[in-house]
Each structure stands twice: as structure tokens, then as C-alpha cells.
Symmetry: C2
């Protein structure tokens, strides 16, 4: 080596700290699965984080020269991924996890879930259920979730306390809900809720008219109008049941999607869950209106609802994300990596075609396409400078992770939620080496077990 080269090398490795830019956090040495538009996978990468934002992503050797981090996390031998996005769930229902599975949807709803909710759902229930769900989701690499439930302001407070990102919709439904008994009450509660969270960096308050089969046209339109007044997203179950389709054809003379479009609900602020019974024309409408759709394979299989035409929706240009649905009777967990695996396998078997859906597609649906589906693609879903620093480190030191011929295949089919080692949301480390830092887990588990005892008693179970 020449002397000038040696001098440059010396300078490069010994530059005094003050000439480097001081930053909050540097993740070093992992394989970054960026999910950026080029779908770059960078080995020996580093991610520089300042505040809640990704400042830079690039070769570790470069970034360590450029930045002086207050905190460093070593990702050597691990994958660095954008945080996973659970596009549809009902988090407080974790407290009803596994309450009467293996029954028909009708019995499940009318014999078990609605009575259980009527007797047990309080603001306190919602808080503990949300904490339990946050613990489970963080452990499984979920950093953002879209929720529909009651007392959604309490869901928002607990989501923020857990350091998670949420698109959280207060439910509107045409029967007395556990929180609000009339539309006037729903409207007042929701407006206060929307105002309260405006501008919050983690929480997007939203309005969630439940579905066309539980809401009148007026309820749907009033809910949408209120949402739009505050530029809030609209969350709705869409074409999730055969009966919903049949009834809509009979009552409205058109499919659920066409009906929602006709009455002015659909738009680029809508997140439609399930979308099972959507034909060609419906898919064209959903694409034109830029509705985000969320596929829930576990739930659709467990309730035998049907198979959503995911590949066709994607081909039509619709953003399709993945969701777990609620964890009671229709899943029973909040494991988004399992939904990735199921999405590919369900598509293949239902079309009898092993090429129907590939591993990369389902990783997209859990990350960048999921972000598009919940209309947050400018903020999250990929590792790119300027985006929120929501990222997860995945351990590759387990037998199921070895060997890896293709990273997307490993993520889709072999890696598990339990392989997620460290989770960062908005630049804040919320799980480190599988230790939750924002949730008192033993307390949450104990309280959930207490709730189980009282809920079982209220339903005369033993």
C-alpha cells in the first residue's frame, strides 16, 4: 500500500468523533431486507436512526464512518426488516382467545361472543386486552396494527403506552355497543376521540362502521362523513360472508362493494377487511377508489368463510395487506408471520397451482403493501431514509432458519414470530433480545388470567 493510501485509511478509521454526525441509534451489520421500490437486499448493512426517523441505510463500513451513535445495536447474523403490519384485528378480544372455537359463525357470534362482550367488555377489559395484544404483537414483529373495537380511545392510550403504531377505529354498529348505546353517543365519543389524537406521531384515530350487514346506510354515511371531516381513515368489514353478498344482491340489487361505492363510502381513506366476495367489477372499483384491502387467511379458514382472490386483487392494482383478525374463535393468535405462510399456501391449494402466490409476494403484503393498504406507505413499510424507524431484527441462529437459499422463502415458510429478536418502533426500542421494554408482561398475563375466570363464570363455563 502506498503511503497516501495508508494515510487515508488511517484518517477514515480514526476520524475524531466530533467530525461525525451525532445520531440516536445505529443498527449495524445485519442483512437489510429493505422492501424499497427496487426490493434491495443489503448485506453487512447499517441503519442510522435520528429521533423517530430513518436517516440513512447503507454499507456498515460507510455509515460507521459517517455517524456517531448514542446507542448501537449489533445485528450481525440477523435480518433487518421493516416492522410487520397487521392490517385488521380486534385487539381487546385477546381476553376471549379460544372462547368456543370449532362452532359455526352464527353460534359463535350469537351464543358466545356477543353475550360475552355484552357482559364483560368495559374500558378496563379493553385496556388489559390491548396490553396483552401489544405484548404478543411486538413479540411477533408487528409494529403497526389496524384495529376495530369499542372504547377505542382506551385502545389508543394503551397502544401509545406500549410504543406501538396504530390505526384505531371506533366501531359504529346499529345495536347498543358496550361503550355507546345510540348513534348520538357514538358520534360524540368518536368526534372527541378523533380530535384528541390529531397530530399524534403513533396513533391514527379512525372511524369503523362495522359492516353493511350491521349498519344502516345512514350509519355508514354519517360515520364516513365524520371521518372525512377530520381526515381520518375509515375501517370496515367488506364482503366477508356469503350471506352478506346474497343479502346485498337482494336488498340493494348489487354487491357489497358496489353498494358501498354507490353510497359514497369508498375512497383512498378506506381500509376494507376480508374482501372475499369481490368479483372483477368489484376489484376494478376497489382499485379505482384506491381502497386498501386486508386479507385474513387464518380467520377465513377457521370460520370457513371463503378464499379471498388475493392474486387477482393484486393484479388489479389494489394494495392488499395481511391481518390476523381478532384472536377469539377466528384465529386464535396475532401472529403475522403465520399469516404470511398461510397466504401463500392457501392461494396455492385453493387454485391447485403452486405458482399462485410466491414468498416475495407475501413478504410484500406484510410490509410495504400492508403499509399501502392502511394508507401509511409514505411513513412505513420499507427501510428507506425519511421513513419512520419501525424495524425488526430476526435471529438466524435457530435450526429452522438454517440454511437459507432465498431470504423471502425463509421469511414466508420457515422463520417464525418467535425468531424476532429486537423490535424498534419510531426509533424507540420496545423489545430487546426478546425482553419487552414497554409492557409489564407478568402483570398483564396475571390480569388476563383473572379476566378469564370472571368471563368463564359469566358464561356459566367451568
Amino acid at each position: 500500500m502506498t503511503k497516501p493510501t495508508l494515510l487515508l485509511l488511517f484518517l477514515a478509521t480514526h476520524l475524531p468523533a466530533q467530525t461525525k454526525q451525532l445520531i440516536d441509534l445505529l443498527i449495524t451489520g445485519g442483512t437489510a431486507v429493505t422492501m424499497n421500490p427496487a426490493r434491495d437486499i443489503q448485506e453487512n448493512a447499517a441503519v442510522a436512526i435520528q429521533g423517530d426517523t430513518i436517516l440513512a441505510i447503507g454499507p456498515q463500513t460507510e455509515l460507521t464512518k459517517r455517524y456517531q451513535p448514542k446507542q448501537t445495536i449489533d445485528a450481525e447474523g440477523k435480518l433487518i426488516l421493516p416492522g410487520l403490519i397487521n392490517g385488521h384485528t380486534h385487539v381487546p378480544m385477546t381476553l376471549l382467545r379460544g372462547l368456543h372455537d370449532d362452532v359455526t359463525l352464527h353460534d359463535w357470534l350469537y351464543k358466545y361472543i356477543f353475550p360475552a362482550e355484552a357482559k364483560n367488555v368495559t374500558e378496563d377489559f379493553v385496556r388489559w386486552g390491548t396490553r396483552l395484544a401489544a405484548a404478543e404483537q411486538i413479540r411477533g414483529g408487528v409494529t403497526t396494527f389496524a384495529d376495530m373495537y369499542y372504547f377505542e380511545n382506551a385502545v389508543a392510550e394503551e397502544t401509545k403506552a406500549a410504543g406501538m403504531r396504530g390505526v384505531l377505529g371506533e366501531t359504529w354498529i346499529d345495536f347498543p355497543a358496550p361503550d355507546n348505546k345510540t348513534e348520538a353517543e357514538m358520534s360524540a365519543y368518536t368526534e372527541k376521540f378523533l380530535k384528541r389524537w390529531q397530530g399524534d406521531p403513533l396513533i391514527q384515530a379512525a372511524v369503523a362502521p362495522h359492516s353493511i350487514y350491521t349498519c344502516s346506510q345512514k350509519t355508514l354515511q354519517d360515520a364516513a362523513a365524520l371521518a372525512r371531516k377530520y381526515h381520518a381513515p375509515i375501517l370496515i368489514h367488506t364482503a366477508e360472508m356469503k350471506k352478506e353478498l346474497d343479502d346485498s344482491l337482494k336488498q340493494n340489487g348489487m354487491s357489497p362493494v358496489q353498494y358501498l361505492d354507490k353510497i359514497g363510502i369508498l375512497g383512498p381513506d378506506v381500509i376494507s377487511a376480508h374482501c372475499i366476495f369481490v368479483d372483477d367489477a368489484d376489484r376494478k372499483t376497489l382499485a379505482q377508489r384506491q381502497v386498501g384491502c386486508v386479507h385474513n387467511p387464518s380467520s377465513n379458514m377457521m370460520l370457513a368463510s371463503g378464499v379471498s382472490p388475493v392474486a387477482e386483487m393484486r393484479a388489479a392494482g389494489i394494495a392488499v395487506g395481511l391481518g390476523t383478525d381478532g384472536p377469539a374463535g377466528s384465529n386464535n393468535d396475532l401472529d403475522l408471520m403465520e399469516e404470511m405462510d398461510l397466504t401463500a399456501k392457501l392461494a396455492k391449494i385453493s387454485k391447485m397451482d403452486p405458482l399462485a402466490m410466491n414468498a416475495k409476494a407475501v413478504v410484500e403484503m406484510a410490509t410495504i403493501e400492508g403499509a399501502r393498504a392502511v394508507h401509511l406507505e409514505k411513513e412505513i413499510g420499507s427501510l428507506e431514509p425519511g421513513k419512520k424507524a419501525d424495524l425488526i431484527l430476526i435471529d438466524l441462529d435457530k435450526p429452522n432458519a438454517v440454511p437459507i437459499y432465498d431470504i423471502y422463502a425463509a421469511l414466508a415458510y420457515a422463520l417464525k414470530g418467535s425468531d424476532v429478536r429486537t423490535v424498534i418502533i419510531g426509533g424507540k426500542v420496545v423489545m430487546r433480545d426478546r425482553k419487552l421494554l414497554t409492557i409489564n408482561e407478568p402483570e398483564v398475563l396475571a390480569k388476563a388470567r383473572e379476566y378469564k375466570t370472571s368471563i368463564a363464570k359469566s358464561l356459566d363455563m367451568h
Copy 2:
């Protein structure tokens, strides 16, 4: 309390050790999901183990009075289950995990797997692949697996070294295999293999004629005759592809099952993997011949092979177990708890009936029915005195495990392989608190990564 009562109490709790029976191991304080004929679930249970056998199972308070254990494992707050049984796999293929997924079965076999195997499968490959698979399976609660591959004697040696139980079949196939190039070689290798393992407490050497579409009638019959000479099980892929059915109808004038029956293969020593294309008459035959069948939902979905009529097979009285199949391109892991979840969900969605299969059924298939399917129901599959001490402890201190309204539902739908905490096989602790005690895991992972590099090179991948 009266004085005599107090005296009795004192005696009961202070009996000198020598009046208690000395035993090797006592598991105390868990909830035992026995899978015995009454399907008893015992809370605050204990399991007494002597040598490789379960001596007693009952209330902890009683067993602690009766036995003086050399070693105790505290299962307080955990589930105690019979070890899970993986009824069909090809363990060395872990080294090919994820090698070209999302392709057609034909391309996968002929472009990737067969060339990869021809170039790479040696006895050394088989040893390291088996070690990797043993590590993964123990971590996921599998204590027994049924395998079909090449160099099966090496599989057996490594399985025994890992302390696992195996029904291990040397493959017979009508083309030059990586180990044996002719039927004479296959026969000689297999006979030596069968002799070598006779009477082994963990290993059941078996013969595995691959399938009717890769073996002539003579190969099938010779393999079966050799197996029966040594009272060894016969493992075979059965009715796993539509093409196999169509070809059999054309060439043999009957279905694969009827053909196998006609040529004398079927019997109470046969383990048939997949069984997708089995009609009413086939199911009757399989039941009459007491063939064990193994359902592989992940593989069948991923390769889009079809949906096995599991409920109908069970209704016909057939023992149906669960298998992962090989971990390359057709799964890609060895996670039997995932197969339980998939079995129920696939049955529900494929029949559009949420009652098609319940949680208890899939837990049975992973334990006692799986034992029946591999013809080891007298030895394993349930927690009963006299059976082998193959059992697993499952942690309930994770968010996904809380709350539990129904233990079978939790096992089928919410608990994960990673929740398995401790694994005991034949009385020997092989994993304790997620630490593998019989396998040098870092060495195995490193070697598997090395193999990946050379395999990728041999296939001109990068």
C-alpha cells in the same frame, strides 16, 4: 384437627425417604394432557419415570408421597403432553430447506431436487442433515419421527445420538439412488440395516419403497418381503398425486390403494404417507388392512397436490397421523404444531364447514392417533403407566398462551413449537429450558451453512 389426624398428616409428609420408592425422574405440578383413552386432563399432576418408562401419573400430592426421585422437573404452570409424532418426513433434506420454492412439483423435482441430491447427497450430508432436523424437531416438541431417505443407517445413528425415537425407512426406488445403485445393493444394504437395529429401544429400522410411480411391482414386493422377514414397518408414499391416480387407473385398472392391496403390500405394518386420492372403497381397504395413514397439510398445500379426506378416513376407523414431509420446497420446516393448526383450518375451508375438524381431533392426530399411524400405540402417544416416557412440557407464560378457555384449542391454534420448554424421550431429558442437551447446535448450524454454500455452487446458484 384431632390428634390422630395430625399424626397421620405428620407421617404422610415426613415419611423417611427409604420408605418411598426410588425413581429416576419426577415431573411435578403441571397440567397433564394425557391423551389416554378417557382423554383425561389432570391438573396439579405428576409423572413418575423409571428408566425409559412411565411408572405412574396422578395427583402431585400423592406421587410425591410415594416416590423419591433422583431428579425432579418442576412443571408448575406448564402443560405436560405426550411427545409429538412426525409421521412422515425426509430429515436430511433440511440441508435443502427452501431450495427453490414456488415452482411446479415437476420443475422442483427434476430441475432442482434430483440434481441437487445426485450431486450432494453423501453419508456425511445425511448425518449433518439429520442432526439439524433433530435439533429443530426437539425444539418443536417432536419426540418420534418416521423418515424415508438414503443412507438411512446414518440417519438411525444420528437419531439415536440425538436421543430421538425414529421409524426409519431405507428408500427403495427404481433409479440409481445416492447410496445404492441397484436392487441387489439396496437389498443388501437394507438387510444389514434391519439386522443392525433389531431390539433397539429407540430405533425401528424400516423399509421404504418410495411409491408405485417410482417402483415396479417387483421392487414393491421384494421390499415388503424383506421388511416382513424382519418384522419391520413398511413406509410408502400413497396416492399423493393426481397423476399417480390417473396412471394407476390406466396401467393397473384400479386406484393406487387397490393396486397396493392386490399385490400384497398393505397390512398392519404399513405407514402410508399423504393418502390424498383415496375414495370410499380405498378407505375401507385401508381400514381393513389396518394401514396407518399420515396427513401432510403444509406439503399438500405448498405443492398444490390436493386435500386429503382426513375426516372421512378417521370416520372409517383409519389411524391418521400428521407429518411435515421434507423441509425442502414442500413445507419448509419440521413444525408439527403448525401442522395441527393447518390440519383443522384446511379441513374447515376446503369443506366450507367450520365444524369439519376440531381442535381435539388434531391434537389426537399429533399424539395418540399418530402413534397408531406409525404402529407404536402400545409404546407412545399418551401419558399412561407402562408407556415410554416421551413427554414435553409447554410453557404458558407467553402472551399467545393466555388466557386458556380450552386446552385443545390453545394447543391447536395458539401455542407454538417455540413454546415447548423441555423435552424428555425415553426418560432422558434432551432439551431443558430450551437448551439442547444431546446436540452441539452451533456446530450443526455452522456445518449446515457450509453445506449450503457448496450445494448452491454445485447448482450454479449464487
